[in-house]
Amino acid sequence: MKTGAAGPKVRRRGVDRPPTRVSRLLQNRWAGAAGLLVALLAPFVNATPYALSIMTSAAIFVMLAAGLNIVVGYCGLLDLGYAAFFAVGAYTSGVLATRFDLPLLATVPAVLAVTVLAGIVIGAPTLRLRSDYLAIVTLGFGEIIRITANNLDVTGGPSGVYGIPHLTDGPVSFYYLTVAVVSLAVLGAARLGRSRLGRAWRFVREDEDAAEATGVNTYRVKLAAYIAGAVWGGLAGVLFAAHLSAISPASFTFLQSALVLMAVVLGGMGSVPGVVLGAIVISLLPEVLRDLADYRFFLFGVLLIGFMLVRPQGLWPARSKEALRSDEALRSEEALK
């Protein structure tokens, strides 16, 4: 065993390799706080309406990735129609707010109820399927939701819902509200991952039969992951509706689902800091490349392929870290003497 000389009694270790200087920095508990600080200070660097809008969209995208990470990263359920929950949240709040003249905040309880219901309706029949079938079925559901929104009168058909009230007075305050909500959502997803339920999700991902044999009701646990993902996506939808004040079926295409999935895979499945980073890269990279005009998405694709070739485990992969038992830390220190 390798330990630092005269190290503290409790040390942290990664699962695969001994920690490097970089990974120790990344595992630092202040990494999240540092990320939040960057988000809070960004408007002081550039507060043009364009920059604020991009940053708000990126934050909402982070929330989507954190939600999909629960389903795909933690629980290993390949969901290709995640934008469906995003749409359900956005449309529920948008339609209620415009039809009944409600403030957007008042629609949140209804959004929670409808997204949980959507999670159950989509999840209950499909979660008995094995992963590859599940991917196809979720892809279908994603399209069904979009096409339904496209054809119903109450959702405004192809032109969608417009005139959705804002949540705050200006873009700066809305940006900060979004950052606050998204931070709580990311923290919540991370905490769920470190709980009894979060472990059960990973057991299901690793080996469903073995998980059942140890007493994990895999069906219920998968449904819980699906519902959690639906709630995260739905609440992100409310922010999205408030941000753009107009929503249409074109915002909830398969491409959107694929981009969120890409953020999760690129960042590192199951790793909360990873998917946050992945989501920021996926949402900001096309903006950074904007100067390239027509070649923008070509280079975007090339860069993504490059990332995945160099770091297939993701930009910031999940590593388990925990404190050694104090007596063991002592023992390993004694062994060094």
Binding site: R191, L192, R196, R199, E206, D209, A210, A213, N217, S320
Partner: protein, 255 residues
């Protein structure tokens, strides 16, 4: 007192009868071995008891409770733990997390506790970790507990899987070939471990091909062939049973 009672168990896959009218009972704290040639239906019996297979006919009760039709997790909830013939650890997760899986059923922690990090969350996480360490100590695991389970040597993986089953605190433990692939020294360690588990008051049903181990550790041996029970008794009696000798050595001249 009877813990597990299997009566007239029948399991068929299409036309194939994997288990053909097996009856078996296990008392509290007893070590019973289930032996038989390959394909005799031993693992199928385990799969029926633990809810992975639906038996075609017959009764399975644990302390008088009917187990038929229950999900595997519900059977585990009644105090039945098992290991798998070809190791089913959660390979990418740490050894400690693997054993934590065993605590899943009795850990009292709600989603709200986890989101708010309440004192109850902290307490239950601490207890869960302590228990995981306790069972790894109990099975005598020497390898890295913080590393991924797949990195453990094979013999240690067997022990880790048993620790996971014990963390469930079962009344009945089903071990499917726990000594398969172990070397001589490791087998002796396994005999010792099985006895220590029984001393905790846990009944054990063991599927094993290593006759030395079976004869040494079992209090009773049940022999299966083609899904039927052909002998049931003390190890020394079963060893001399002509039907058993025939099943193992082959009765047909061309076998």
């Amino acid at each position: 007192m009877t813990l597990l009672d299997v009566a007239e168990l029948r399991l068929s896959f299409g036309g194939l009868l994997a288990v053909d009218g097996l009856s078996l009972s296990v008392a509290e704290g007893e070590i019973v071995s289930l032996i038989g040639p390959n394909g005799a239906g031993k693992t199928s019996v385990f799969n029926c008891v633990t809810g992975f297979y639906r038996p075609t006919a017959g009764r399975i009760t644990l302390r008088g409770r009917d187990l038929r039709g229950l999900r595997p997790s519900a059977v585990a909830g009644l105090g039945v733990a098992r290991t798998f013939q070809n190791l089913r650890l959660f390979g990418e997760l740490s050894v400690l997390d693997n054993v934590r899986a065993g605590t899943h059923l009795w850990l009292r922690q709600s989603v709200l506790d986890a989101l708010l990090h309440t004192p109850r969350y902290r307490r239950s996480e601490r207890e869960c970790t302590e228990q995981a360490h306790h069972w790894l100590d109990f099975v005598g695991l020497r390898g890295d507990r913080y590393g991924p389970a797949r990195a453990l040597p094979y013999g240690e993986q067997r022990r880790a899987e048993i620790a996971r089953a014990l963390a469930r605190r079962p009344g009945l433990l089903l071990l499917d070939e726990p000594a398969a692939g172990l070397n001589h020294g490791e087998k002796a360690g396994m005999v010792d471990l099985i006895r220590r588990i029984r001393d905790l008051g846990v009944a054990i049903v063991l599927i094993e091909h290593d006759m030395g181990l079976v004869m040494e550790v079992s209090e009773r041996v049940v022999v299966l062939n083609f899904g039927r029970e052909i002998a049931d008794g003390r190890p020394e009696d079963v060893r001399r049973d002509p039907a058993v000798i025939e099943a193992y050595l082959g009765g047909e001249p061309d076998a």
